[in-house]
C-alpha cells in the first residue's frame, strides 16, 4: 500500500494556485526527491503533507492527501496527531535554545513520556542514529547553539526521529552545509529510509540522484514527471524534465 497519495491536489495562496492537480504516490520506506526551479511549488507541496500551510491566511485547498489511505484533510482528522506522524526538517537548522539533551527530550516529554530511563535511552538512540552521539556524548548538557551548522542539522533530525514519526519531510536540509556535513546528512537519509518514508526538496540535482529512489519534477505548479530516480537522470520521458536536469533552464 502507498504511504502517501496526493489526489488532484490544488493549493492556492489568495486565489492564485501555487500547485495544480498534483497526483503523486510515495511508497513506504522510500525516498522521494522533489526537484524544480524556484517557485515551482515543490515546497508548497511538501508543506501540504503535514498541513503546515494551514496557518497561512487566505489559502485554498482542493483535492486531497491520503496517508495510509486516510484523508488528512478530512474535517475530523487529528492535525496534531498528523504532525506527530509527519516530522519535518528545514533548510536552516532550528535547535531550541536549550541543551543538546533537552532538544531531543522535549518532544518526548510533550508526548507524555515521563520515565527518565526511557527518555535517556531514546535521546542516546536518536543521537546514535544520526551519527552524532560520539561527537556530543560528553557535552549533552551544553547548549545546542554551540554545535556546528552540520551538527545542529543532525540534531534537528535526531529530534525529529526521537518521537518516532512515520514520515520525514525535508526542505533543502543540506543546502546551508559544508560538503562533509552534506555527505553525512545524505548518508543519514539513505539509512533512515529503512524505518521512515522520506520526502526531500532539493535544488541540488546530484543530491536528488544520490539519495532518492524516486524523483518528481515540478514546474510552474504542475507535476511534470515522476519516475525512478535512475530513469529521470538517464532517460526522462518529458522534454521539460530533460531541459531542466541538463541545465537548459531553471
Amino acid at each position: 500500500m502507498d504511504k502517501i497519495t496526493s489526489v488532484n491536489l490544488t493549493f492556492s495562496y489568495g486565489g492564485v494556485p501555487a500547485i495544480k492537480n498534483i497526483n503523486l504516490t510515495v511508497e513506504p520506506n522510500t525516498v522521494m526527491a522533489l526537484i524544480g526551479p524556484s517557485g515551482c511549488g515543490k515546497s508548497t507541496f511538501l508543506r501540504c503533507i503535514n498541513r503546515m500551510n494551514d496557518i497561512i491566511p487566505n489559502i485554498g485547498i482542493d483535492g486531497d492527501i491520503l496517508i495510509d489511505n486516510e484523508s488528512i484533510y478530512h474535517r475530523d482528522f487529528d492535525v496534531t496527531g498528523l504532525r506527530r506522524r509527519v516530522g519535518m526538517v528545514f533548510q536552516k537548522s532550528n535547535p531550541f535554545p536549550k541543551s543538546i539533551f533537552e532538544n531531543i527530550a522535549y518532544g518526548l516529554r510533550i508526548n507524555g513520556i515521563k520515565n527518565t530511563y526511557e527518555i535517556e535511552r531514546t535521546v542516546e538512540q536518536s543521537l546514535k542514529r544520526t551519527a552524532l552521539w560520539d561527537e556530543v556524548k560528553d557535552r549533552l548538557d551544553q547548549s545546542a547553539l554551540g554545535l556546528s551548522g552540520g551538527q545542529q542539522q543532525r540534531l534537528c533530525i535526531a529530534r525529529t526521529i526521537a518521537v518516532a514519526p512515520e514520515i520525514i519531510l525535508m526542505d533543502e536540509p543540506a543546502s546551508a552545509l559544508d560538503p562533509l556535513s552534506t555527505q553525512k546528512i545524505e548518508e543519514l537519509i539513505q539509512d533512515l529510509k529503512q524505518n521512515y518514508t522520506i520526502i526531500i526538496v532539493t535544488h541540488n540535482m546530484q543530491q536528488a540522484a544520490r539519495v532518492s529512489d524516486h524523483t518528481a519534477f515540478f514546474y510552474l505548479g504542475e507535476l511534470i514527471e515522476v519516475n525512478r530516480t535512475d530513469m529521470i537522470f538517464t532517460k526522462p520521458d518529458n522534454e521539460m524534465t530533460e531541459n531542466y536536469i541538463t541545465g537548459k533552464f531553471g
Binding site: M205, Q206, T234, K235, P236, T246, G247
Partner: protein, 224 residues
C-alpha cells in the same frame, strides 16, 4: 547560450568523429594494401594505428573529466557513456585493420591466390556501417542507426563465402594454403570490424533514445 558542458561535449564529439574518420581510412587502406600487395601502404596503416590509440586515451580522459566535473544527466550522460564505449570499438577497429595490413606484409612477394572481390566489398560495407552510425549520431536519427544493425549479416555471409571459396583453393593446390590462410585471417578481421560497427550503431541508438538494443533487448518495444 551555449553552456560549458555543451562546449565540452562538442569537443569530445569532434574528437570521436575524427577517430571514426581515421578508423574508416585504416580499413580502406589496409584492404587496398592487401589487394595491391602494397607493403609500404600496409606499413603506413600499422604506423597510423598509434594515432587511434592516442585518441582513445584522450577521449577516455575527456569523458571521465566531463563526468566528474559537469555531472551530465539525461541525453548528455548517455552521450558520454555511449562515447566511452564507441571509443573502444573504434580503437579495436584500428587494431583489426592492422591485422589485415600484417597479412599484406606476410603475403609479400607471393603470387595472389585469386583476384580480391569479396574482401574489398566487406571493407566497403564496414566503412558504410560506421559512417551511417556516425551520421545517425550527428543528426540524432535513431532510424538511421537501426538501419545499420541488420547489415552485419551481409558481412558475415561474405565472410563464409570467402571461407568456402578459399577452402576449395587450398584443397586443389597446397601451395595456396599459406596465402589463402592470410586472406582468411583478413576476412575474419573484417567480420570482426562489422561486429564493432554494429556495436557503434547500438550505442548510437542508446544515445539518441535511451534504449538498449544489444543482444535483442527491447526489440520491437519502441521507447520502452
Amino acid at each position: 547560450m551555449i553552456t560549458h558542458l555543451e562546449q565540452e561535449l562538442e569537443a569530445v564529439k569532434t574528437r570521436i568523429f575524427e577517430m571514426s574518420d581515421l578508423a574508416m581510412e585504416a580499413i580502406a587502406r589496409s584492404v587496398e594494401s592487401l589487394k595491391k600487395g602494397d607493403v609500404r601502404l600496409a606499413e603506413r596503416v600499422i604506423q597510423g594505428d598509434s594515432e587511434l590509440d592516442r585518441l582513445e586515451i584522450a577521449i577516455d580522459e575527456e569523458c571521465v573529466r566531463v563526468l566528474v566535473t559537469k555531472q551530465p544527466a539525461a541525453k548528455d550522460l548517455r552521450l558520454v557513456t555511449a562515447f566511452l564505449k564507441i571509443n573502444t570499438d573504434l580503437e579495436r577497429i584500428g587494431d583489426l585493420a592492422t591485422v589485415v595490413a600484417k597479412e599484406t606484409i606476410r603475403m609479400a612477394g607471393k603470387p595472389p591466390v585469386k583476384p580480391l572481390v569479396d574482401i574489398p566489398r566487406m571493407a566497403v560495407l564496414c566503412a558504410e556501417m560506421i559512417k551511417e552510425s556516425f551520421l545517425a549520431i550527428a543528426e540524432r536519427d535513431a532510424a538511421r542507426a537501426r538501419g545499420v544493425i541488420g547489415r552485419d549479416r551481409e558481412i558475415d555471409e561474405l565472410n563464409m563465402q570467402i571461407y568456402r571459396e578459399l577452402f576449395s583453393y587450398m584443397a586443389e593446390n597446397p601451395h595456396s594454403i599459406s596465402p589463402a590462410l592470410s586472406l582468411i585471417m583478413a576476412s575474419k578481421a573484417l567480420e570482426r570490424i562489422g561486429d564493432h560497427a554494429t556495436n557503434i550503431a547500438e550505442r548510437a541508438i542508446y544515445y539518441i533514445e535511451g534504449v538498449d538494443v544489444r543482444h535483442g533487448a527491447h526489440e520491437g518495444s519502441e521507447g520502452e
